[in-house]
């Protein structure tokens, strides 16, 4: 059984050139958080002030979670902000050691929210972006807030956006030997949780389409693991009866026209692509080894996957039409679940070594391997669309062992658990929403 949801959102952004004076380098190690002053948004009436404080709360929460910002307590502010167009008294904001100043106004007319805001570099005394405006229906408060967070984050760091995104994952309940699993979707910050399947069948490993409107996943609905394609907008569920055996580990190609997946037939697991438009199937690996967990490079030219063809589980790269594969993982231990970064430069993976699991990254040629985490089970990395943050699931050991979702920066900094009311595994980070 499948549920669906849809959302409408009007975006009238007037973003202008970003000139980051204050440049935070998130590629390096420890960063001292930037002090930011964030006076209450200016409002004219009570309903606008409620919306304004909700937006502020979401933006602050987004930015605090990056560990790159800290908010200066409001009772230290010297200046009042009564209009976003009046000149900024920089000295007043420097006096309280603020590096950034965010000012804005919010109005709600006929159920339409309009927010205008400006971000000032108090040190350089100039604007990081000018006169940005977002407009949307009253139920789009959270998305508006995340878009503001994205503008601030990208304006200050020079990195890509990632707050206005969703996570598809598997929500789990019950004891370890009788878990129920449901396909679920939520905003990147854990809000707006929705279930897409009931708990009748085991479901595994959802994966977003490049337009974030569809999800591939694996379900035991028929008694065997089979891949399904769920359209989140129409609710349409597509199965692939033309594929033999058991099917799992699906992902979309970067153009969204094909899926790549594993087919297990007669005990042997190989990698295939299926063209979603003409249903043509292509076999990419053909040997007695386990070949699974394929992931396309963002340019669509290569596929990274795992195979035990060399004796144990390792990571390989092959051309996207198949052909000879090159092993890229050479450290101690076993490697699985490779995922190509949206930037194309790195591959995230799960590594198993000496009874521990790690999330790690390596360059696409296998060099510069770095392990970011270590735990009993850390598994299943997924990239934020900006290629700076990785989400994964961590499963605790023992009879009460259970999985939760975590994020970590590709630098290895800022490990954070996503607090949810159920166990959670197999996250898939959506592309940026439009």
């Amino acid at each position: 059984m499948v549920f669906f949801l849809s959302s409408t959102f009007v975006n009238k952004g007037l973003s202008q050139a970003n000139v980051p004076e204050l440049d935070i380098d998130v590629t390096e190690g420890v960063v001292e958080p930037i002090p930011i002053a964030f006076p209450n948004f200016i409002t004219r009436d009570f309903s606008s002030s409620l919306i304004a404080s909700e937006i502020s709360k979401i933006v602050k929460n987004d930015l605090l979670k990056t560990s790159l910002f800290r908010f200066i307590t409001e009772n230290t502010y010297i200046s009042d902000v009564t209009s976003i167009d009046s000149p900024v008294r920089f000295a007043d904001w420097r006096a309280i050691n603020s590096d950034l100043l965010l000012v804005g106004n919010v109005s709600i007319i006929n159920e339409t929210i309009t927010i205008k805001f400006r971000l000032w570099d108090v040190v350089g005394q100039n604007e990081i972006f000018k006169g940005v405006q977002f407009q949307g229906p009253s139920n789009s408060v959270r998305r508006i807030a995340h878009k503001i967070s994205d503008l601030i984050y990208s304006g200050v760091t020079g990195e890509g956006n990632y707050f206005d995104t969703r996570i598809a994952f598997i929500s789990e309940r019950g004891p370890k030997n009788n878990r129920t699993k449901r396909l679920a979707i939520m905003d990147q910050d854990g809000a707006n949780l929705n279930f897409l399947t009931n708990s009748d069948s085991i479901v595994l490993a959802p994966r977003f389409s490049p337009d974030a409107r569809k999800i591939l996943y694996t379900s035991y609905e028929t008694g065997k693991p089979r891949v399904y394609l769920l359209n989140l907008v129409t609710g349409n569920l597509r199965s692939f009866p033309q594929l033999p055996g058991m099917t799992f580990a699906p992902r979309f190609s970067p153009d969204g026209k094909k899926i790549i997946l594993s087919i297990t037939d007669n005990g042997n697991t190989d990698i295939y692509t299926l063209n979603l438009e003409n249903n043509s199937k292509k076999r990419l690996t053909k040997n007695v080894a386990i070949d699974t967990a394929p992931s396309f490079s963002p340019d669509g030219k290569f596929i990274v996957f795992e195979s035990d063809r060399g004796g144990n589980q390792q990571i390989y790269v092959m051309p996207s039409n198949g052909g000879s594969a090159k092993r890229i993982s050479f450290g101690n231990g076993r490697y699985g679940t490779p995922v190509w970064s949206p930037r194309g430069d790195m591959i995230a993976f799960t590594k198993m070594h000496k009874g521990n699991f790690h999330i790690g990254v390596m360059r696409k040629d296998g060099s510069q391997e770095r392990l970011l985490t270590k735990a009993f089970i850390d598994e299943g990395p997924t990239w934020a669309p900006n290629g700076r943050i990785i989400m994964f699931f961590r499963e605790t050991a023992g009879v009460n062992g259970a999985p939760s979702l975590y994020t970590i920066e590709v630098t290895g900094r800022n490990l954070r658990k996503i607090e949810l009311s159920s166990f959670a595994s197999d996250p898939s980070w959506s592309p940026l929403l439009n």
């Binding site: 370890k176 878990r179 699993k181 297990t264 007669n266 697991t269 386990i290 699974t292 035990d308 699985g336």
Partner: protein, 162 residues
């Protein structure tokens, strides 16, 4: 530990021979049209508990260990004797592996058992395989004592024709 198992299986084989000849454990029961028409619950229990419906595997392996050949031989004899025509082999893995790999590994294990039963004269068309990877652990501690029981293939009797 291994020796204990071997001794146990020899004992089981002995009891099979005895039971099938002397008592009513395999007597026909059940309503017409029921896929289990001629397999009684006690008979199924016998298959699961006395013959043994489960065999275990080493870490990352899908080779049938010699100590389990007798179990599978007995399974095959019982399946033929009872004219069972629908059998599913479930393959499972322990939690010490990634999800996708464990699905593939479970499929390898289930298929190894299927192939063995085929070699013992069970028609391939009567056997289907399914992998559960690490989704359905039998034991839930995070130690080898549980993991070793979770690396398993189970022969499940679905129904019979005659």
């Amino acid at each position: 530990m291994k020796y204990q198992k071997i001794v146990m299986f020899i004992f089981i084989l002995f009891t099979i021979t005895n039971c099938s000849e002397t008592n009513g454990l395999f007597g026909k029961s059940g309503a017409d049209g029921d896929p289990f028409a001629n397999i009684s619950q006690s008979s199924l229990d016998y298959f699961s508990n006395e013959i043994g419906d489960t065999i275990l595997f080493k870490v990352n392996q899908s080779v049938i260990e010699p100590e389990y050949r007798d179990v599978l031989n007995s399974q095959a004899s019982w399946i033929k004797e009872k004219s069972i025509s629908s059998i599913t082999i479930e393959g499972h893995a322990d939690e010490q592996g990634t999800r996708e790999y464990n699905l593939a590994l479970g499929a390898r294990r289930a298929t190894a058992v299927r192939n063995y039963l085929v070699s013992q004269g069970i028609p391939e068309s009567n056997l289907s395989v399914v992998t559960y990877g690490k989704e359905r652990p039998l034991r839930i501690c995070s130690e080898e004592s549980c993991w070793s029981k979770n690396r398993r293939a189970i022969t499940i009797i679905e129904g019979s024709n005659s």
